[in-house]
Structure formats: C-alpha cells, structure tokens
Amino acid sequence: MSELSFDIRIASVKRLLVDVRNFRLSIHRMTVLFGESGIGKSLISRSIYGLLDPGEFTVTVDGRPYEDYLERIETREIRKHGFFVFQEPSSHLNPLLPLGIQLREGDLSASSDELDLLKNLWDKTETRKIENLLEVYPKPYRPSGGEKQRMFLAMALKKIDLTLESHRKESQGIFIFDEPTGSLDNHFRDVFLSLLLRRFQEHHFTTLLITHDYSMVSEITGKHKNLLDLISFKELSLHEEKLDLKDFQPEVYLG
C-alpha cells in the first residue's frame, strides 16, 4: 500500500461542512496541500488524525461512523507514531505548565535534550534567552505567537526524531502540519522548512503540510530540488458544493 485514501464527510447540526471523496495521502512521502481559507483543510486533517469529537460533529470516514474509524488499528498507529501541529498555537499550549515541561511531556519525555533543536529554530538567539523562555507559563501575551508556534514545531521535530530513531521506515505515523508557519516571518518559515526537509530526506516519513502560503512553493522547489520526487503538491478546491483534490503543478504556478 503506497497511498492512504479517505472518503470524509463532516456535518454539524445545521449544515454539511466537508464532503471529500478519495482524499489521498502518499505513504512515506510529503503532501503539501494548498487551498483557500475556510475550505475545510483543518477539519479534514483533524478527522484523519482522529481529533474530531463524534458528539460535536456527524462524521463518517469511508462511509462508516467516526467511532469505527477511531477504533481502527491504523488510526491508532497514525496517532501513536505521528504528530499534529495546530494552526493556532496560543490556545493549544497548556497555560498551567511551563514550556520546558511541555516539551518533555508524554512521548516527548523519551529525550530531554531539545536545546540544540531550539537553537536551530530560534536561529542566532542567545542560549540564555531560550532557556529563560522554557520557564515561561504560556499566556495570551507571552511568549509571542511566533515563539509559541516554534515551540510546537520543536515538539513535532522532536517527535519525528524520537519516532524515527526507534521505528525507522516502518512507522505508520502521519505528521500533520496545519498552517505551521502562519505566525512566522519568511526567515523563520524557511528555517523550519529546512529542518523538516532535512529530516524528511533522511527518513521519508508520511507528512501532510497544509498551507495557503503559495510562496512556500518557490522555497521548496528552489532550495530542496533533490526532494521534489518525494513531494506531492495538491490543491483543494470547491467544485459544485463538493471538495475536489487536484494535483498542483509547481512549475506551472511558477511559470
């Protein structure tokens, strides 16, 4: 099996939110998914990762109730060996735990050495400042949105390192990045992309990178040409009330 395929239908009490057929994810490849805001990219990715509340939405995956999907071994593997980086970093950090502790919680506790990773993500920031940041309890105003997002990205990269150390290529986890660079400037976006793609080059883990930042295309195609065979660019668009997943041609976009 080289591809995962999902038929996903999500409805609230009042209306149909998402109806997508044959949503495909290539295993051990990176899928970069574009699409306009509000089209349902986050809902789709959350449903694949098993994060939707069956009590809040009516969800079917492949025509079966969402509860059945959550019970699948494959879904558990996706969660166990994967990671989900949320679009909105502020509300996803636990306000009652310092950032440093949150970086070592759960599966991430297998390693307490994340300083090098943080130094890379903070690029040229003094070590002392990073260490101070680890003692901060997240508040709406501190750290900044960009720092919170980078903290999430550090968690994801750490999970990638830990998972791939132990499971290598047979890992069935999916690493989902939902608008991971929305709060970052272009410099830090590129820093993150290079860190992610460096790991991807080593291990080819299944990745879904969701964005509406089309300028990312030129960054990936320009600086990471050697990986283009392993990266699928796709675009989600609304067509007659139904979502349509089309291949996206970077060379056409870039002219």
Binding site: E56, F83, F86, H92, L93, N94, P95, L96, E105, D107
Partner: protein, 289 residues
Amino acid sequence: MGNGGSLSGSFYNQKDRLWLVIWVSGIIGLGLWDALFLNQPAFTLVRAAFGNTVVAGCLAVVLSIGFGWLLGVALHFLETRRRPVYLAVTFILNILRSIPQIVGILVGYIVLTVLIENEVLQSRFAQLAWMAFVISLFVFLEVVDLVRGRINHFSKLDFFHAMLCCGIKEHRIINREILWKNTRAHLFQKMVSIFGIAIFLQCSIDFIVSVGLSTDVSLSNFPVTLGNLLSRLDSKQDILAIGKAFTGLTDAQALLFQHLQGVSIAVLIVFTLLCVYKISNGLVSRFNL
C-alpha cells in the same frame, strides 16, 4: 495603620475565610460557655454529639468526592468507548437521583439497625462510617455532575487535543490537568457545600429516627449525634423554653443557664449550617466559580 486597614479590608472581602473564623470562634465561645454553665454529663454528651456529627460529615465529604471523581471519570471513558454500558450506568444513576435523599437515607438507617442488631457493626466509628456512606450515596451525584461538566468543558479546548498529540494518556490529562489543576477550587467549594448538606441530612434523619422509632432500637444503639440528642426529652424542653424567652427577661436569662443543652445543640446546628453556607458562597465569589 493603613496596612492593617487594607489587611482587614481584604480579609473582610474574603467572605469564606471571614465566616470560617466566625464559625470556629463561635464554636469555641459556645464551648467555653457550656464548660462554665452546662452540667458535666450534658456537656460531655454535647461534645460527643458535635464531634460525631462533624466526623460523619467529613467522612461523607471524603466518600462523596472519591465516588464522584471515580464515577465521573469512568462515565467519560464509558461514553466514548462503551456506549451501551454508559447508558446502563446512567440509567441506574438516574434511578438513584430520583429517590428523595431523606427516603434513601432512611432506608440506609434501617439497614444500619439490622446490622447493629445482628452485631455486624459494633464499633461507634464503623456505625458513623456507615451513616456517612449512606449519606454520600445520595449526595455524590453532585460531584459526578461537576466532574463530568469540567471534563466536557476542557475536552473541547485545544490544549486537550494538543496534549493527546504529545502522547500524554487521556486519563492523565483528565485526572491531573483537568481535575487536579483546573478543578480544585470547584471541588473544594463542593466539599464545603456537601459538608453542609451532610450535616443537615444527618441531623434531620437522626432526629426523625430518634423520634419515630421505638426506644429499644434508636437512641441507645446509634452513636450520639446532634440530631438524636436534640430529640431527647430534656433537649426538647429546652427548645420549648426558647418560646417562653420572649415573654420575660427572667425566662430569657434562664435560657442561657438552665436550658443550655437543647439551646447549645440548636445553636450548633443552625450556626454551623449558616456558616457553611456563607463559606461556600464566599468561595464561589473568591474563585469566580
């Protein structure tokens, strides 16, 4: 002076602490008065009754919180993983909820009587523990509702999902992050209010049992509590004397010296309930619950 003023001001604003101090001071004051003017056998009885009532109340609080916490968390997992079992347990709990507390606890006291007569429950503490257990059975659903409400609220928040993504076990997120770190104040306020409910129910039931059952079953067999001490003939006469106190100054003075047993018990019950109510309300406003 200014600092002292602000301290007393902030203390006055923290109504829960203020009423706790008032309650403790009132109990100590009453104890001193009784030590001076109440005869020794009656004073010993009142102290034992107050102690037993408070111990049973505290046990009821501990049991209610324990049962409520456990069942609240279990229901959350059953609802998401074993729906038929969840529906069955909810049905049973709703039946329990539909039984009036007084009636349910009376049935529990009947069982206690049987256990005492069959010499199963001999020690006073075991009998008090049974009373507390029975009361908690009809009170702990309030804790279940609180726990479930908090879990439902937090499980919809983003950080819950984020912690799951980090591989943190759901039971740890619920027990530690949601209930321990984010619900402690709510649970503490609930404990205070359950203490008041337990005292009220216990006094009511003990009074009813002591008045309504034959003497060879009730008073001599159950541990002495404020409720059953109040139902004794001498206490009732003291209570009746309160009415006479409005007719003349001499009778009012006699209330404080000659009718101390019944009046002390009545004051202990009413004053404790009032203070617990005020402490509970104070906690609600202090922690914005």
